[in-house]
Symmetry: C2
DNA sequence: CAGGAAAGCCAAAGCGCTTTGGAAGACTCT
DNA sequence: AGAGTCTTCCAAAGCGCTTTGGCTTTCCTG
């Protein structure tokens, strides 16, 4: 059942039927009702391919998925996706993932824009001066950055959490509890969120005349194994930290294991605060010692990004406003006063 | 730059240019070269929307993503996606995720098929007599099931691992080591994989005249918390199991925690084998006691599913062959002879 | 050397929608 | 009553590609 047939059986032109269905004003309300009724009765659904060709609108949002044998997709992605999908569903938006060589995403971005394959895209895990942001800004497709880049001479729309503030708060609490030697087990230091978190910790320490020692900060992919390694390295130093701030719950698993392996205890020997993106399958309160966290639901962020993308597509949102969400500090048993 | 312009500047018809570009035989090789050359020089890329409308082919594969406030996307999904994306990239395929109300996916499947939004789809986490399988079979779109359904009067193409065999092997090993009371901490018992795994364990036990006691099998979503709960329940029984087989690494984290909380030890008091889907961020060899596993890379499965989908789209694969991959049993420190 | 086959190319008809540029009829106003 | 204004509808022109059906030209073959 296509438009031609439908309009024919209604004894109307395709124009009128199309307009009636798409809510244009220049059609009699009585006629509109007739049309909508018939459309529903015959289960008419406009062919999206045809509509795309005619309008250029796709009803899809895009994401360029870096792939490659040695490229791991972040497990956070799935939670973000939950939120995004949940919102997208309610607005009949689909998400298209375009796999790209991790080392050459530009080609793919150019392709999906040139081909008008999607109405808008989002970017995640941005870095300072991220080329993708600059590229999309040039290409002129609606987009939202999940996270933040830095160092551009233009503004761009983003949704981020207050990573610096969160880690500042976490570190400040630890300092207040008497800790003098903090350490930071961070994610990939090339990503902005990691930079911001380190900045937050440093700022809190500086406020009390303290420093984040050279060997007291480590950056790596957020795996359990890397958390373990980093923690061992830190804790086996001559002057070991008495408190650790950690960028991920998964890494924190490794930290806890390292502490245990070394015969130390949390929070007796070392206090621990980790960032929690709120996974359904791993909760900080269920750690052997309940884990204090800086908490922010990445799922909500996904829904928000979808909402903004939808708004930009429909022209409801313009401008380049960045928004930064506050992060909760949730104190649990893994923090205590400095030993000694 | 569109076909019209290109053909005009080549002083050829659109027909010929189109055919030259698409490798049809009825065009002079010399002409073809000229055309391809000009196309490359001017960066001509056929408009996919137009091509879709004309051919019905989309170059996309689909996945219906169940969403909802209380629906959690499995973290396995991301690993599967890595493999799928990696293959899809090399074949210029995109993946479109269509979010659907978890309780009404049928509408969405019907939509993407009726609208010809994708060339093929895949299904994951199937259940016995899964309605999605029946539906797709009826709708006649190429598809692959990742996993298996059961109880149809028709065959369908799937790629699965030998869950029953894997858990049979695991249980058999434990029995050989003298264990008499095994327990199974399984995933959602409505899914086929969980049923097969339980079947495998039961078969191994039965071979030695043993049974999986009523209270010795638990099924729930594969979270750390559920692993913990299940393990506590099991281990606090009057006649506690001396060995546990567990369906997921994440649940195994909870099991380990429960064992520790109860003052027991692995493998002294209880042996543990878990299924490992091979996450980059959580490895069984890094458990406090290295974890024995049944191992099968879900990432490879993703690549294989993509490969088969591509083959079906291009007509290279026909029929309804199901394929079942063997699973490795990797013995590590978490298993030992039965205590006492 | 006629007749048929094969090679190489083209014009035009879709694919199914949106949108432009009217046009007919009804209504208002002077 | 004539001019102007809405209201409501339509024919037809795209959007940019693929594909059908046919038309020349060249090449064999008997």
């Amino acid at each position: 059942m296509n438009l031609k047939q439908l309009s024919h059986m209604l004894a109307l032109s395709q124009t009128t039927v199309s307009r009636a269905l798409n809510g244009y004003p220049e059609v009699n309300e009585e006629t509109r009702r007739r049309v909508m009724d018939a459309a529903k009765r015959h289960g008419y659904r406009p062919n999206p391919s045809a509509r795309r060709l005619a309008t250029g609108k796709t009803g899809m949002i895009g994401y360029v998925l870096p792939t490659g044998a040695s490229v791991d997709i972040d497990p956070h992605f799935v939670e973000f996706l939950s939120g995004l999908g949940d919102y997208a569903r309610s607005h009949e938006l689909d998400l298209v993932l375009s796999p790209a060589d991790a080392d050459d995403q530009e080609t793919t971005y150019r392709r999906i824009v040139a081909n008008r394959q999607v109405d808008a895209v989002y970017i995640s895990s941005p870095r300072p001066a991220d080329r993708r942001v600059a590229l999309l800004n040039t290409l002129g497709i609606p987009f939202i950055v999940h996270g933040r880049s830095e160092g551009f001479d233009f503004d761009y729309p983003y949704t981020d959490i207050d990573n610096e503030g969160a880690f500042h708060e976490a570190a400040r609490l630890l300092v207040q509890l008497g800790h003098r030697r903090l350490a930071l087990i961070n994610g990939d230091s090339r990503e902005t969120f990691a930079i911001h978190r380190e900045r937050g910790v440093r700022r809190a320490l500086a406020a009390s005349g303290l420093l984040l020692g050279d060997g007291h900060v480590s950056s790596s992919a957020m795996t359990e194994e890397n958390g373990y390694r980093a923690a061992r390295l830190l804790l086996e130093r001559d002057i070991a930290p008495t408190a650790i701030v950690c960028s991920s719950l998964i890494m924190a698993l490794g930290v806890v294991r390292a502490v245990r392996d070394l015969g130390l205890s949390i929070p007796g020997d070392v206090s621990l605060i980790a960032h929690d993106d709120v996974f359904p399958w791993l909760k900080p309160e269920n750690f052997s010692v309940p884990l204090a966290t800086t908490r922010s639901s990445i799922r909500l962020a996904g829904a928000r990004v979808a909402e903004r993308l939808a708004a930009r597509i429909s022209g409801l949102e313009e401008g380049v406003r960045g928004e930064v969400w506050p992060v909760d500090l949730v104190v649990r048993g893994s923090v205590a006063g400095a030993p000694g």
